[in-house]
């Protein structure tokens, strides 16, 4: 804290601080870059924070809390909202009793993601009001505002962040005194509002549209949208991180900076566009805002297609404003990431490479098995896909190739959405059988060593119920289940893989060895456990 009552905080920390100041009763989510630090910070600030097995469960838990009149926060990366989309769309119909803020942290440029989907589309598709902060102060302020709007209109509200908001630090002045008092938590029965059978859902859809029309009016009059003075020859309409790039690229232009982008304040934008000679929309990702404004009959310019790809920055915004479509200079390639020296995944990928396997892979550190020196991963699509895709390959390929197909998934990813894939393997087994290798390194390594149900520890590392992969596999009826440390005897591990590939049945190998980066901390926690509760 500086003498002027400001702090230097990341966007993620700002959301956590606002949630704490606003009396959020429960924060839940699933780790995913760049959203992970929100719940970690919320927990450190004393908030009740927990990791769910995946984003769908997290959102459902948050909806339940918000049905109980509590203020709830749920966090995830952009692709996580795909997993949570099912409850999201219908929670817009049911509405909530308390408050529900859904954080979607998008990753334009894909610093650490498999796609650069633009989740602003979700706000429109689901009918969820959306705020887009551009720095930590706005991340803090808009979190408050999202809670207020959610409580006032009894709707889930989306806080759409991007990598450069989440992971940038900027100066922030907290205002805890402005937080509204949390409502008393209790359940009031209302089957008509909460049970989405068709007869209740039809009027619920109409209610949702009526609420959105009211919120649009509120956004016109009182939304967090600001007009920044400038010369009228150029006007810029922007939001989120793109707005701060644009302010720097064209400091003399007039600007309408939108803080709430769904439902849009169309009258305000139309008036602004009329007040300037040339009106340009500066936005990162898809031409989402420009198309919405044009559909409303507002004359605005967009950006050339080449700027849809990757992040914006100040120089790219300058180019957009100049209409420059000449090829951009590519920065020299840096050093690509790789599996750590001594990473236990290395022995697994060496074995798969030696056996010339066709490997359906998944999301995590081990995605790096696709790069040199192993090049032993043939597919990566989404969380949990390794198992279903491996089965599909086995079903379709000729036998000599099908028998080389292996699914490889990490421990965290298996919990997230691999379990149903394993159920599918038991239910629709390929005629050649199949082999699933669970790379169990005892942590969610890629996102920074988070706990998950397979570690048996909560978000803040307290012991809790533990999912045991081999027990689960056996209970499902997997005939061949093995637990091995692949690093102890790499040759024996390779022989085990070869043997499983020969069988015409479903095999699961749990390759268990803790992540090098997590081993020290795991040992310390186990030592502390023994001190509290000695083994008899």
């Amino acid at each position: 804290m500086r003498a002027d009552d400001t702090i230097l905080a990341s966007g993620d920390e700002a959301v956590a601080l606002a949630a704490r100041h606003a009396g959020v009763a429960l924060g839940t989510g699933y780790p995913g870059t760049p959203s992970t630090e929100i719940l970690e910070a919320f927990s450190e600030l004393g908030g009740r924070a927990q990791w769910a097995p995946n984003e769908k469960v997290a959102l459902e838990v948050a909806i339940g809390a918000a049905f109980a009149n509590a203020r709830a926060l749920v966090t995830m990366k952009h692709v996580g909202l795909n997993v949570a989309a099912d409850p999201l769309f219908t929670a817009a119909y049911t509405g909530v009793s308390g408050a529900l803020v859904v954080v979607s942290a998008d990753d334009p440029g894909m610093a650490s993601s498999q796609n650069e989907q633009d989740n602003r589309h979700y706000a429109v598709a689901a009918g969820i009001p959306m705020f887009e902060p551009s720095d930590s102060q706005e991340a803090y302020d808009f979190t408050f505002q999202a809670i207020e709007i959610s409580e006032r209109w009894k709707l889930p509200v989306m806080l759409r962040l991007t990598t450069r908001v989440c992971h940038s630090k900027s100066v922030l002045r907290p205002r805890p005194a402005q937080a509204p008092e949390p409502p008393p938590v209790s359940y009031s029965k209302n089957i008509r509002l909460r049970v989405m059978i068709p007869s209740n859902a039809r009027p619920a859809h109409r209610r949702l549209r009526a609420k959105l029309a009211e919120i649009a009016q509120w956004n016109e009059a009182s939304g967090p949208n600001r007009e920044l003075e400038g010369e009228r020859s150029l006007g810029i309409v922007s939001s989120g991180i793109a707005a701060v790039h644009a302010r720097e690229a064209a400091p003399h232009a007039a600007m309408l900076k939108l803080g709430m982008t769904y439902p849009l304040p169309l009258q305000a934008v139309a008036a602004f566009a009329r007040s300037v000679q040339r009106c340009v929309v500066i936005e990162e990702g898809d031409p989402w805002l420009v198309e919405a404004l044009r559909a409303a009959g507002i004359a605005v310019e967009g950006k050339p297609e080449m700027y849809r790809f990757g992040e914006l920055n100040v120089s790219r915004v300058r180019r957009i404003l100049e209409g420059d479509v000449s090829p951009e200079a590519a920065p020299p390639p840096g050093k690509p990431p790789e599996l750590c020296a001594g990473c236990p995944h290395r022995s697994v990928f060496q074995a798969l490479k030696n056996l010339d396997c066709i490997v359906a892979g998944d999301i995590g550190c081990y995605s790096l098995g696709a790069l040199a020196p192993f090049e032993a991963l043939d597919t990566v699509v989404c969380m949990g896909a390794a198992i279903g895709m491996g089965l599909g390959l086995r079903h379709a390929l000729p036998e000599d190739q099908a028998r080389r197909v292996v699914s490889v998934i990490g421990d965290g990813t298996f919990v997230h959405s691999g379990i149903t894939g394993l159920v599918e393997a038991i239910y629709n087994p390929p005629s050649t059988g199949h082999l699933l290798i669970i790379l169990d390194n005892g942590t969610t390594a890629m996102t920074g060593m988070q706990e998950h149900p397979g570690t048996g520890r909560t978000l803040n590392h307290q012991r809790t119920g533990k999912l045991v992969f081999e027990d689960l596999a056996r209970s499902l009826g997997v005939p061949s289940v093995h637990v091995v440390d692949p690093t102890l005897n790499p040759r024996a591990f390779e022989e085990l893989v070869a043997e499983c590939l020969k069988r015409r049945e479903i095999s699961v190998i749990v390759a268990r060895r803790t992540c090098l980066l997590a081993t020290g901390r795991i040992k310390e926690m186990e030592k502390a456990d023994r001190a509290v509760c000695p083994v008899e």
Partner: protein
Amino acid sequence: MTSGGAQVNIVFAGLGGQGVLKASDIAADAAFRSGFDVKKSEIHGMSQRGGSVSSDVRFGRLVHSPMVPPGEADFLVVIAPDQVEVNRWQLRAGGVLIAPASVDQRALANKKTLNVALLGLLSTFVEIPEERWLEAVRANVPERFLDANLAAFALGRQAAHTEVME
């Protein structure tokens, strides 16, 4: 020395695990403690698995974008020798390169404090009082490594080998 009102752009670069992000955190904190508007931006995630990492720090009276525009860095602080050339494009003409060769690494008691040694050298170029730098180092490194980091910072402040971009 940089002039009083101008915005200062610093890019930190290196490999995952070298303390690139820590160095940028300390620099941003020192600027913040000196009363400046500050923005700091980083990309982390997959790149931390031994790949290239970079982080931008900007400070001045008012900072808009958290990212240093390409080719506009006043200072480029590179912690890995093999990352100097791939990041040189970030410097503006007349910008200052601070690289491992800029300090006497043999004098570092703890090799992992190279990031803070380079900050020591950077500190001689920017208008942030030494005491604010030391406060920021104290606030951002674990107690048991504090003495080694303060020694590294002092070593960096004595170094004078930098390269100015033509």
